[in-house]
Amino acid sequence: MQQIPKEMFQPASVDLSEAEKISKPSLSYWKDVSIRFRKNKLAMFGLVLLVILVFMAIFGPYMTKYDYATNDLMSTNQPPSAKHWFGTDELGRDVFARTWYGARISLFIGLAAALIDLFIGVLWGGIAGFRGGKTDEVMMRIADILWAVPYLLLVILLMVILGQGLGTMILAMTITGWINMARIVRGQVLQLKNQEYVLAAQTLGASTSRIMFKHLIPNAMGPILVTLTLTIPSAIFTEAFLSYLGLGVPQPLASWGTMASEGVQALQYYPWRLFFPATFICLTIFAFNVVGDGLRDALDPRLRK
């Protein structure tokens, strides 16, 4: 073996401050999430679809010269053509205009219901989970009782008392809708509140609201966001379902649900009247579901590479 002469060795300089260096660029939590989300092709497709749908809901009604409510009895039940892109319905109203107008109502109902669910659910579940003991017991039993009320009966009762309309619809959905969110948040809070960083905040003298909003809710954001994105399609679906039963928004307002419900009566002769609203209901629900799925994967720190 060849001898290595002593002169060839050089003492390495050890700089202790170098040992503490982190060379990886600093990534905030949300940057990390967005990188992982963008890697998920299906979720990205869903997101693009959603953007298009929202864009059309906002600008769609202005793209055609027809109004969603104006009857034109000279051209009823027209098939899709250059004049009426999605055809017309039995009163000669332009289906293209009505579809995008309906998109506004459907998406609005979905978003409003989901946001109200979010607000009530996070507060209710957060307080129940954090306080624990008797408070938790009482609050969750109230939720259980509400959950046990037959949903359709409740909706029909509300419709009878308050009259049909957008507000009633949203109220009907949120009166039991928040329970799901509350349960998820409660579970998360129960799990997180014994984490040492919460104990550390307590020993520092942090107030309950500070612990709630700085420590518990940010760390439960993943499941909350996922539940939120899955609440929206279920609200849209419920709206369509209620409309189908004739409990939807009143005429001449259009929602995808009421349009589908009317379209089904003319299915044999004028199938496009069902086709368009039904397709968009499906697309929207699909898009929200894949985005929700993608978010769940992206938000889960266990999948962090």
């Binding site: 401050s17 520092l204 700085k214």
Partner: protein, 312 residues
């Protein structure tokens, strides 16, 4: 230490947990001891013997079932105004066991360290706040570039030092270290313990050091308390405890320390502790008695005489 000033007095502290079905777990069952200003009191014992619960009850994370904890003569658990409570919380801080769970993953290091500063309003301006954060980072041997990073980017030892910086931010007098090194690599353990020793010298801190690593406890502690099933069985100066263990459980615990010398290690025999060996009679009073100066043992009247005779 010329004169010993009591900083914390713990009197007959009890912490029971109701686990349902009418069952009660006596996690801490009548513990009495004092902690003097500027000293390090080590607390050792096997897993589940109530060391951590004692620490958490002292700092007020749990409401004590019975007994009293006095900090500078002020009761920790008595009802107080929000202001008094805040003032008290500022003076007592805690370093946690798991460096991975003790830092909020959604906050930057600067926000974590400044949490106490924010809560107690210790910095008037943003610049002052950041200045404090940089100072604290440097105190624990990290640099200011770390301030804007997130906890997951750090190693266990670094995280533990961030936890120490967070506790120091409010300038406490008393720090409870709840197994601060047991989750760390051996080479990093020394680093963290030496940091704690240095901080104690510089800032005159008082520590309650909870651990189950006996050699590390001996290294850092002035006095050591041994706990067994919710009770303190022996309390003495560190050297004294190692030289003259009296309670059979302490003897058993000390016999479990591995020896670096292989010759001795080969012949080392563990003494097994069996609680029934005391043969306590019905109605015999077990008390914490001072066998020698500053050396307390949990024993019966009869044992006390025996120990006393053995000692002299």
């Amino acid at each position: 230490m010329a004169e010993k000033q009591k900083l914390i007095e713990i009197k007959n502290l009890k912490q029971y947990f109701n686990v349902g079905n009418g069952q009660v777990i006596k996690a801490v069952d009548g513990v009495t001891f004092d902690i003097y200003k500027g000293e390090t009191l080590g607390l050792v014992g096997e897993s589940g013997c109530g060391k951590s619960t004692t620490g958490r009850t002292i700092i007020g994370l749990y409401q004590a079932t019975a007994g009293e904890v006095l900090f500078n003569g002020v009761s920790v658990h008595a009802k107080k105004s929000a202001k008094e409570l805040k003032e008290l919380k500022r003076k007592m801080q805690m370093i946690f066991q798991d460096p991975y769970a003790s830092l909020n993953p959604r906050m930057t290091v600067a926000d974590i360290i400044a949490e106490g500063i924010d809560i107690h309003g210790l910095a008037k301006t943003k610049e002052e706040r950041m200045k404090r954060v940089y100072e604290l980072l440097e105190t624990v041997g990290l640099n200011r570039e770390h301030a804007n990073r997130y906890p997951h980017e750090f190693s266990g030892g670094q995280r533990q030092r961030i936890g120490i910086a967070r506790a120091l931010a409010v300038e406490p007098e008393f720090v409870i270290a709840d197994e601060p090194i047991s989750a760390l690599d051996v080479s990093i353990q020394a680093q963290v313990v030496n940091l704690m020793k240095r901080l104690q010298r510089e800032k005159g801190l008082t520590y309650l050091f909870i651990a189950h690593d006996l050699s590390m406890v001996k290294y850092i502690s002035d006095r050591i308390g041994v706990m067994y099933f919710g009770k303190m069985v022996e309390l003495a100066e560190a050297e004294e405890l190692y030289r003259n263990p009296i309670h059979p459980y302490t003897k058993s615990l000390l016999s479990a320390i591995p020896h670096p010398d292989p010759e001795i290690e080969r012949t080392r025999r563990r003494t097994i502790y069996d609680p029934s060996q005391h043969n306590y009679k019905e109605g015999e009073q077990l008390e914490f008695r001072e066998v020698a100066l500053g050396h307390f043992v949990l024993c019966s009247e009869e044992e006390y005489k025996k120990y006393k005779a053995m000692y002299s």
